[in-house]
């Protein structure tokens, strides 16, 4: 492997369905965390609800469209279940109750008790054939700039990025609506918003549900891409990836999560490529740095990025410091 193929791989990841799924989910998390200030550490639970909703319904013979419907309903139910009792809590208590709720969901999904339905630790496979049967692109290879993809993955990529664009457009309208202004007002000063007769509780629950639906769609895209759902794909570290994207991009802007997701996956894929190369070299030379270490290193990088961005550029990379401070003046 050489430099060029590492670069090409990074580019492929950055335009691929995984990145689109993370952009979609990050849009939802940005609504919850950026606009409303809710630290939802159980965001992976929404993804799991979506992915499993689809996988289980299709597995039971329900068809793609019913599966999508069930995915959305399941994520709404999960969000409501989590949000109704917890959104009144202070920020850090909310963080802990949501992470606990998502962990409960994951533990139940992977238990042998629920295995007849969920597949237990092995998860569910091959449930997206109907989606790929709808593929309008002939089965040739397509060159997108330097990256060559099959018609099959092009189909999912187009659908995923169209979903991202639609979600971003909808969010752009939503956050500029009166409802969106109430969301920001509650984040800045809940007492003030309440004193103006706004129902902070209801708005927060709505934010959790809308964000959760976007998370579920992200889960569906990921599941369709891999034709596989596994409970351990929806652990807390997945949530932290989404937080890294939102914080990296910049909170409370519509488009920054998309830019954040693309940059995040570019960097992650580049560093993965370099680390794997280093692991191969080190293994050949008998060193201790192997593939397992290279796999761990990506999480170390994400953690470091979280710390460094929060400390040195808390407003994110795609928001200028001047803009951020002006916003503080307006909302102060």
């Amino acid at each position: 492997m050489d430099v060029l193929s590492i670069l090409l791989d990074a580019l492929r990841t950055a335009i691929g369905p995984t990145c689109a799924a993370y952009a979609l989910g990050a849009l939802g998390l940005n609504l919850q965390f950026g606009y409303a200030g809710l630290i939802n550490l159980g965001f992976a639970g929404s993804l799991a609800a979506g992915a499993y909703g689809l996988a289980i319904t299709v597995g039971a013979g329900g068809g793609l469209w019913l599966g999508l419907l069930v995915a959305l309903v399941a994520s709404c139910a999960f969000s409501l279940l989590v949000a109704l009792p917890t959104v009144r809590l202070r920020a850090d208590y909310l963080a802990m109750t949501t992470i606990a709720a998502a962990e409960i969901l994951r533990l139940i999904l992977r238990s042998s008790w629920a295995a007849p339905v969920t597949g237990g630790v092995y998860g569910k496979q091959r449930f997206a054939d109907e989606f790929y049967a709808l593929n309008p692109f002939p089965a040739a290879n397509y060159a997108l700039g330097p990256v060559v993809v099959s018609g099959r993955s092009l189909w999912l990529m187009v659908v995923a990025w169209v979903l991202v664009a639609l979600a971003a457009a909808a969010l752009w309208l939503i956050v500029r609506s009166p409802w969106g202004r109430v969301v920001t007002a509650i984040r800045e000063d809940e007492a003030l918003a309440t004193s103006f007769g706004k129902n902070a509780f209801a708005v927060k629950v709505q934010v959790m549900v809308v964000g959760g639906v976007l998370g579920a769609l992200a889960g569906v895209v990921l599941a369709v891409d891999q034709q596989n759902v596994n409970p351990d794909n929806f652990a807390a570290s997945t949530t932290f990836f989404f937080f890294a994207i939102v914080i990296l991009g910049g909170r409370a802007r519509v488009a920054t999560p998309i830019a954040g997701a693309i940059v995040f996956w570019l960097i992650l894929s580049l560093s993965d490529g370099v680390l794997r190369e280093a692991a191969d070299l080190s293994a050949a030379a008998g060193g201790w740095f192997g593939q397992e270490q290279a796999g761990a290193a990506r999480y170390v990088l994400v953690g470091l990025a979280l710390i460094l961005v929060i400390v040195f550029r808390p407003q994110g990379f795609f928001v200028s410091r001047r803009r951020a401070s002006r916003m503080e003046e307006v909302t102060a």
Binding site: L89, R90, L107
Partner: protein, 337 residues
């Protein structure tokens, strides 16, 4: 130097109310747990229930050891240290390395691991948390930093230790002692004794020594403590060092009775938080009682539900606890609506 323990910002009666409410919560949970155990005795007989109580108490005490630093830090600075579990893993990992690679006896490496834990707790305060406080980073951001730190440390352990579970090369297999129908390995018994001793010493330190009084004053009311001439920053360094050391000890004991794994600390983190929150944040006694309840409830639930789902009980308990006392540590209501 006079140390005041009263709360200047609230009327005494209000403070009394919140103390009483805290006691009520603990009492209610204890009563529920006892009722559960009685049902268990009626259904399954005495021996299995006693067994789960002993196992649960053993787990709960380790949870308390890991969580007591987190609890005091939260009471003082309002930061939930999501990387607290990593201090425990650090202790276990250092002990494992010294024991397996260098061949030192477990008792000695345990002490060394505690020293390393204390040192790393102190280092994290000096290198990370104090600069962050100086920058006036808000609670949300501090939480994200703690999560990031946990992610970094956890995967550094993974890189250096690999993904498998391992044991120390002493005390691995022990014959179980039979004490009144309860079977327990000697190492588990020692774990209980060491936990109780360490927590007792900590309680004595906080009650009797000047440094301990200063820490209690800081955790009660930081501003007032500062105004009465306590050097808050150096007390916080002490808390981080003690908390890191005790968490490392907890990790060593957890690794001794169960196994050492790169994410062992993170796996119990939410249980730790459940325990210290239930007992009331900022107090040693609270951490012990709350963690014991969580530990016993977790183990006792295996009487009815599959063992692989026992953490679900603890997590549900955590949610329940936070829902019942949303107003936070000393009852300052921040809730609206």
């Amino acid at each position: 130097m006079t140390v005041q323990t009263g709360d200047s910002t609230e009327a005494p009666t209000r403070r009394f109310d919140t103390l009483r409410r805290r006691r009520t919560v603990v009492t209610v949970f204890t009563a529920l747990l006892l009722a559960l155990l009685v049902v268990g005795v009626l259904q399954r007989g005495v021996a299995p229930v006693l067994q789960t109580v002993v196992d649960g108490a053993r787990l709960g005490l380790v949870l308390a050891l890991i969580g007591v630093g987190l609890s005091v830090i939260f009471a003082t600075t309002g930061i939930f240290n999501f990387a607290q579990g990593e201090f425990a893993t650090l202790g276990a990992a250092v002990a494992l390395w010294l024991n397996v690679a260098i061949g030192l006896p477990v008792v000695l490496v345990g002490i060394l691991a505690v020293a390393v834990g204390a040192l790393s707790g102190y280092a994290s305060e000096r290198l990370l948390w104090r600069p962050l406080r100086a920058r006036r980073v808000d609670t949300t951001s501090a939480l994200v930093v703690a999560i990031g730190l946990g992610l970094v440390l956890r995967h550094l352990f993974l890189a250096f230790m690999g993904g498998s579970s391992r044991s120390y090369n002493e005390y691995t297999v022990q014959t179980q002692l039979e004490l009144g129908g309860v079977s327990i390995t000697p190492k588990a018994l020692w774990s209980i004794v060491i936990c109780l001793a360490a927590l007792g010493l900590l309680a004595l330190f906080l009650k009797r020594t000047r440094a301990g009084q200063a820490i209690r004053a800081v955790s009660d009311d930081k501003t007032l403590a500062e105004a009465s001439g306590i050097a808050v920053n150096s007390q916080l360094s002490l808390v981080w060092a003690v908390g890191g050391g005790l968490a490392a000890l907890g990790g060593v004991l957890l690794g001794l009775v169960e196994q050492v794994r790169w994410d062992m600390g993170n796996q119990v983190l939410l249980l730790v938080i459940a325990g210290v929150t239930l007992g009331g944040l900022g107090t040693v006694m609270g951490a012990v009682v709350g963690s014991a309840i969580v530990g016993i409830a977790t183990q006792a639930s295996t009487l009815w539900i599959p063992a692989e789902l026992k953490y679900v009980t603890a997590l549900a308990l955590l949610i329940l606890i936070l829902l019942i006392r949303p107003q936070g540590i000393f009852g300052r209501r921040e809730r609206l609506g």
